[in-house]
Symmetry: C2
Subunit: 372 residues, 2 copies
Amino acid sequence: MPDQKDKIWMQRALSLAEKGLGYVSPNPMVGCVIVSKDGDIIGEGYHERYGKAHAEVNAVRSVKDPEMLKGATVYVTLEPCSHHGKTPPCADMLAELPIKKVVMAMQDPNPSVNGKGLKILREQNIQVDVGVLQDEAEKLNEKWLHAIGTSTPFVTLKIAQTADGYVAAPNGDSKWISCKESRKLVHRWRSEDDAVLVGRNTALHDNPQLTVRLTEGRQPKRVVLDGPLELPKHLNLFSDSFEEKTIVITHNKKKAEQDVDPMLKMLQSNYFRGELITVENDSGHVHLRESLSKLYEMGIHSVLVEGGQQLSSALLRQGLVERLQLFIAPKILGGGTKSIINLNINRMEDVRPFRDFTWQQSGSDMLLTANL
Amino acid sequence: MPDQKDKIWMQRALSLAEKGLGYVSPNPMVGCVIVSKDGDIIGEGYHERYGKAHAEVNAVRSVKDPEMLKGATVYVTLEPCSHHGKTPPCADMLAELPIKKVVMAMQDPNPSVNGKGLKILREQNIQVDVGVLQDEAEKLNEKWLHAIGTSTPFVTLKIAQTADGYVAAPNGDSKWISCKESRKLVHRWRSEDDAVLVGRNTALHDNPQLTVRLTEGRQPKRVVLDGPLELPKHLNLFSDSFEEKTIVITHNKKKAEQDVDPMLKMLQSNYFRGELITVENDSGHVHLRESLSKLYEMGIHSVLVEGGQQLSSALLRQGLVERLQLFIAPKILGGGTKSIINLNINRMEDVRPFRDFTWQQSGSDMLLTANL
């Protein structure tokens, strides 16, 4: 049974892990705390950035005197890796230390690890405890867990609407429905998810930048669905300083082939430096499920959708949304573009209940966070 | 300057006044506390029911020993009346007492009183202070103040919608969008306002009772707009035990005349025992502003509208709503009847901001209360 001390150290490790948010994907966030046999913290570390050292390595490196590792306990929020990836396996590294015990919050469900890290440690007579603050650890990496479990990114759908459910005025304008605080929150989410996704209409009519500006943080990939591959190249997504972070998904394979022809590209004065993905045509639109699968294959584990009515509704209708973030502004329009349409629900009994939800105020707006 | 003691006694008088909520209209709520020259409460009272004794009378009656009134102070939430209404003028009654002072929260803006009660008291050398907790007193009687100031009832519009702004599923069903707690709150509001109002469509499709059932309280008048005067008589509003509380408003004057013909009524097996009002025809609908004026003339000072999309939207469009009570349920329909339409707003800049608003949770729903 874990004692209170175990929980305190693990909580510290979880806090460290969270510092990697936005920077470690497609890896999970991991934190590590090393406690001496006398009960003092002698080392700390977390996975700071994808491709850089793992949490365990950073924690061991931070220990001033290797002598202190004798009989120490290592707290780590995830099972140490057992495979050679961008870095050597952490389980092997830890197994060679004179430590007494490793406490982990959860096993790594990744098939290339799952239980193997644990086994390596136990074979070296290091005591291993699993499950301290497991719920918290799973919550921390819920998007990563969803992604590796389903081979699909965790999709968060953000909608900002009026109290009566409109996302744009009759003249098409949507600036601004939500308040400054809400827009700031969305910028923070952009910095935390791997990619932001919009549809063709939004790209064309709002010409968004989809960058992080109202807060500090990492710029996300920007995905735009452009079935016919006809969006004009002067849009911000194709011409600003983050151009190479833009991914276009199209079903127009013929045009896409021309677009990636290096000779043709050279001849264009201002060719697109981002990525282009082709998927199947689904009744005139890009195939959404396939699009998400391809994004996952590119290492995108979480997507924030900031689309308009058509894209939001299609994703909900196809059951591709994990979390809805619905901002409701205290104003009424009485007309314009409805937020959500065509879910094929006819009766109240057919409404699909949310798994869980919370209401919270965001500036003058109300934010409904619902897990589907 | 009022001292802290004055505020404490006046707060007590306001609390007493509030007990009359739902029972005193078209009179205002009034509470009264009498404090002896030694600083003890010697009498309390409030206006309990329309047509019964006023607050001041009840308070004076409650004083055990008239001797104690010598040098006492009377705290009353509204200027004592100076006119003979259902009861003799309270100002005259107080002026004859051996009291030293009358403290009132506010003057009565009613032209038949405004300042006259105050004058009667001062002429008898009774000291009069005005304005202690005036804001609270005005808030308490805000609906009454609105009504007598505009000769129109205070209109509260209640809407219960899904998070995406639908008030009914595509099949027309709206039972139940809001949660039990929210419906209970609406029943409480019914007991507090003078009348509940619905349109023809709601009466026909939902066949509502519009009574107070989920909580204790006074049954309100029930107003139904029936332009052509063709709603079937078997509806709850015309056939249940509160039939005489139903008011029908029509623009079909010809049919209305037939309906009130006593001979024709006698011939009907089950004639309507409620009231019938005729107003002008406004593009095929009953004239809303005129309907409200006529309700005011009948002594209805506050109306809770529980209409559907058409009535809600028409009232908002015509600027006839004072307060919006919008329940937002944590569910999405993606289709059906929108809550609010046709406000003639084309651009975001044309959105009319609320005077003020609050968000509060009501069971699992969110309630937006907005003053227009």
